[in-house]
């Protein structure tokens, strides 16, 4: 969290939840993601094997006012843009793009039939087509603008201005090049997602011992349970028995046919694995399963779920099991969800966990490497996606009516984002000072 204001923001959902609690809301409830910052959107494989773009983190999900998610999303664009060193105008453009896309999408969902909203999604083809169109659009705009300027200036003909025109044309070509590079980078990220599956994970996380795979020990990131016996004060046998019990309990939360599918896999090994920024410190495990043979692996991720950071402000979840809260919230918000979502209570019954696939073509955007154009496009995609997620559980007609047709809402949220980014800088500096002064402990490079 001490790396940059941006990483601090990602890790400080709890801080923002408390800050949002004091802000005015229209009283329109939706299922909130609870942590809709820009890095919590990404690509993953749907049950019908398409690469879909959607929200992908639901640790904080709860029903609440829609503004909370919009503000957390919008401010994340302001902070990320500043972090990338964008100009004030570019920063504002990216932020407002996310809010405008949200508002416009909600207006169209307000006109749509219930089932069509439910089925609405953004897949890989639409995503790449959108990126190409955005890139082609800028290139064209720049070219016509320069051409126009050139003719204008030629008429006046002073040599100095002619030179400037040439320079402008060069700049336009540069913009085009930058846009093309951004397009290539985005396409590469999408292509990369396709390679991220359990077999690839096995090559990184598994090792063959006596003809069977086990998870490689890579402390402190990956620690197999066989090395954790001391931590849990249990014998390896007890741990193994406990895990199998957990696995069975998890299977019981799956839909009939998926449970049946999972029964074709054998539980092989499990390890503790550190993840995320905000999630660091909570317990997360990976489980290795095998199907037909050792070349047919399946990795599941088991993540601890605690009370949502929003709970003090929007009320308790109706689920007593936080793992279930996360899974049900995810299913309600996503266009399609991982077939392996499930939940369990931990070995220690006080803890709650949710289960999902570890690597099922999951991919995310490289926000730090984005140029203004890329971030703006990404912002509009995230805005649309958040609106779709909210329209599934909330009332899109009421929300569209509230948001209105003018850009008043967009501007107001963008203004908030700027102020909140300042606040975040301030909080970040305090945090860094506390680390430096030794009030807080920090270990680098993990």
């Amino acid at each position: 969290m001490a790396v940059s204001p941006f990483t601090f923001y990602r890790g400080a959902a709890k801080v923002m939840a408390a800050d949002l609690a004091g802000t005015p809301t229209a009283g329109l409830q939706v299922q909130l993601c609870g942590d809709a910052h820009l890095s919590n959107f990404g690509a993953f494989a749907s049950p019908e094997r398409r690469l879909l773009f959607d929200l992908n983190d639901f640790d904080e999900t709860l029903p609440g006012p829609f503004e909370y998610d919009v503000k957390r999303m919008a401010a994340s664009f302001t902070i990320a843009a500043r972090n990338n060193g964008f100009s004030k105008a570019d920063t504002r453009a990216a932020t407002i793009a996310s809010v405008r896309a949200y508002r416009e999408a909600m207006a169209s969902f307000g006109q749509m039939r219930t089932m069509d909203i439910w089925y609405a999604h953004l897949d890989e083809e639409e995503l790449t087509a959108g990126i190409r169109a955005a890139v082609a659009g800028t290139a064209r705009e720049d070219k016509t603008a320069t051409k126009q300027e050139k003719t204008d200036r030629r008429e006046k003909a002073p040599k100095k201005q002619e030179k400037r025109a040439v320079k402008d044309e060069k700049a336009a070509r540069k913009t085009e090049k930058v846009a093309k590079t951004a397009q290539k980078r985005a396409e590469k990220q999408i292509a990369k997602a396709h390679t991220r599956d359990s077999l690839q994970a096995l090559s990184k996380l598994g090792e063959l011992v006596d003809g069977r795979y086990q998870i490689v020990s890579q402390p402190p990131i990956v620690v197999p349970l066989r090395d954790l016996t001391a931590v849990y004060h249990m014998s390896p046998d007890e741990i193994s028995r406990g895990l199998r019990e957990q696995f069975r309990a998890y299977r019981a939360t799956l839909q009939d046919d998926r449970r049946h599918l999972l029964e074709r896999f054998e539980f092989v090994d499990m390890a503790r694995k550190v993840v995320g920024v905000g999630s660091v410190g909570t317990r997360a495990f990976i489980a290795l399963l095998q199907g037909r043979d050792a070349q047919d692996p399946l990795f599941l991720q088991v993540k601890e779920a605690t009370a949502s950071v929003l709970e003090p402000y929007v009320g308790k979840s109706r689920y007593r099991q936080h793992g279930e809260r996360v899974v049900q919230g995810q299913r309600l918000m996503q266009a399609a969800s991982d077939i392996y979502l499930g939940w369990t209570k931990g070995l220690d019954v006080q803890r709650h966990y949710y289960w999902r696939q570890l690597r099922d073509m999951k991919g995310s955007a490289l926000v730090e490497a984005m140029v203004p154009l890329g971030l703006m496009y990404y912002a509009s995609v995230c805005g649309w996606t958040l609106a779709r997620a909210h329209a599934r559980s909330g009332d899109p007609v009421a929300m569209a009516e509230y948001l209105g047709e003018s850009d008043a809402f967009d501007k107001s949220i963008t203004d908030f984002s700027e102020r909140y980014a300042d606040q975040n800088d301030h909080d970040y500096n305090e945090f860094v000072n506390a680390v430096k002064s030794g009030r807080l402990e920090a270990v680098e490079g993990v």
């Binding site: 019908e48 219930t114 439910w118 089925y119 599918l261 054998e266 043979d293 309600l332 009332d395």
Partner: protein, 473 residues
């Protein structure tokens, strides 16, 4: 953990050839591919492939007509004569309605004991296109009223014989019918072989999309098939049904009556449907779908008469509206009794027959309608599904000229369905590399089509003699 249906554990309940044997247990992963293959080969000892083609009427162990009539007990009495009438129309219609007869016939012969989740009624017109939860058009099996775990070859036999019966109905040359059977069964065998080396999840996700289905046909036919699919796809939706089946009465949409196919029901009956059937159904939906369902309000329901074999089973068509106008949704609730195989294999593990149908459907199909669920009313079980959700059901006229191509697509789909719940390695071991299995199944299909004609003729004469009631409808 509760043992689930459809896995390798044999239904040893029946004192048949499979008793005492435990076929490849899939959860026992120590079983290597070789062991699984060996268990498939061992299954040949229980049901030799050479015997698959045999059919002897005298050994069938039940009376076809009585089996049909015995099914009427749980049906609406006044609809029973309509069922007889529809079944008597032709040997093909009889075949469609006589799944119970064929179940008895199949069970009278030794079986392999290689268990899968059976569709239970895999005849050629029970393959079709429908829209998946992610709005892909998928080619799949579509009727699961009889689904139950059972030996894989029962589905294959019902499928193969249906090709012959349908071909005869459409006056297709026997040689062409035989070619279609060979194409369908060979497609099944080849596809099953492919699944032996595929990762479990790839098998699970495998499926045939509409655009791939088109490629099964000759290039010259592809345009026509595509146009047909597109036309139907646009029309067969809730909106299409709304335009066709409803009229505004006092400012509210009502489903129009069309006796005897669609009959209005009393307000009390409608209230019962909502309070009992739908209230129970709602709880069988996953929570996210339940919240979606809650956005709709029931506005009207009628009783429907559908199909051939299912005539007499209670069917309700229900119209719902979303929160804004022009936002219709049709759900259909269909009565479910025991599977016709339960008497021969084992009872279902589900306490609601609707649950049996839905669970089987989910196991067999590569993707399933988001609104499937179950409930009960007046002591009868029902399953619920979307009505006309871009479902495209083929007709014999349409597929008859291209039977072999269509059969290939069906054979591959059936193999996929079986590989999801059964053991593809064991089944492949049983099927073998040669064409013996295909040849024997073809022999059976022909003989059984003859038997079906005799059974049909008997129903016709029983109706003529006044021993069985029949009413057009």
């Amino acid at each position: 953990m509760k043992a689930s249906e459809g896995t390798g554990h044999a239904a040893g309940a029946r004192a048949g050839p499979a008793a005492g044997h435990r076929p490849a247990a899939l959860r026992d992963l120590p079983a290597t591919s070789d062991e699984r293959r060996a268990s498939g080969r061992a299954a040949r000892k229980r049901a030799g492939r050479g015997a698959l083609g045999s059919w002897d009427e005298t050994d069938r162990g039940h009376d076809a007509l009585e089996t049909i009539l015995a099914q009427n007990r749980i049906r609406v009495p006044e609809l029973v004569p309509i069922r007889h009438h529809r079944m008597a129309a032709s040997p093909w219609n009889y075949y469609r309605g006589a799944a119970a007869v064929m179940a008895g016939d199949l069970a009278s012969q030794p079986h392999s004991g290689l268990m899968v989740q059976l569709c239970g009624d895999a005849h050629v017109l029970n393959f079709g296109l429908w829209a998946t939860p992610e709005r892909n058009l998928s080619f799949d099996l579509r009727d699961f009223d009889e689904t139950l775990p059972g030996p894989f070859e029962w589905d294959v036999k019902r499928f193969a014989a249906s090709l012959v019966v349908a071909a005869r109905e459409n006056r297709i040359k026997p040689s062409k019918a035989a070619a279609a059977v060979t194409a369908g069964v060979e497609a099944y065998r080849r596809r099953m072989r492919r699944y032996t080396t595929m990762p479990e999840l790839d098998i699970w996700y495998d499926g045939i999309r509409a655009d791939n289905l088109v490629s099964y046909f000759e290039p010259a036919d592809r345009g026509r098939v595509t146009v047909h699919i597109e036309k139907k796809r646009a029309r067969r939706t809730s909106r299409g049904a709304f335009a066709k089946l409803t009229a505004m009465v006092h400012g509210r949409p009502r489903i129009t009556e069309e006796p005897p196919v669609r009959l209005t029901i009393s307000d009390e009956k409608q209230a019962d449907l909502v309070d009992h059937l739908l209230a129970g159904y709602r709880l069988t939906l996953a929570e996210d779908r339940r919240s979606l369902f809650d956005r709709f309000t029931e506005v009207d329901a009628v009783r429907q008469v559908v199909g051939v074999g299912s005539v007499g089973m209670r069917v309700y068509l229900m119209l719902f509206e979303g929160r804004s106008g022009a936002d219709p949704l049709f759900l259909q609730a269909k009565q479910a009794g025991p599977s016709v195989y339960e008497a021969h294999i084992q009872p279902s593990r589900h306490d609601n027959h609707g649950a049996r149908v839905i669970s089987g459907k989910r196991m067999v199909q590569s993707a399933t309608d988001i609104f499937v669920g179950w409930g009960s009313l007046d002591g009868r079980d029902y399953y619920v599904r979307q009505f006309r959700d871009m479902k495209i059901i083929p007709t014999t006229d349409l597929i008859a000229p291209r039977l072999a191509e269509f059969a290939t697509a069906c054979g591959e789909t059936l193999a996929r369905a079986h590989a999801r719940t059964g053991d593809p390695v064991a089944i492949d071991g049983y099927l073998g590399k040669g064409r013996k299995f295909t040849a024997e199944i073809s022999r059976f299909a022909d003989r059984y089509a003859n038997q079906n004609e005799r059974d049909h003729a008997r129903l016709v004469s029983a109706i003529a003699a006044g021993a069985v009631e029949s009413l057009p409808g």
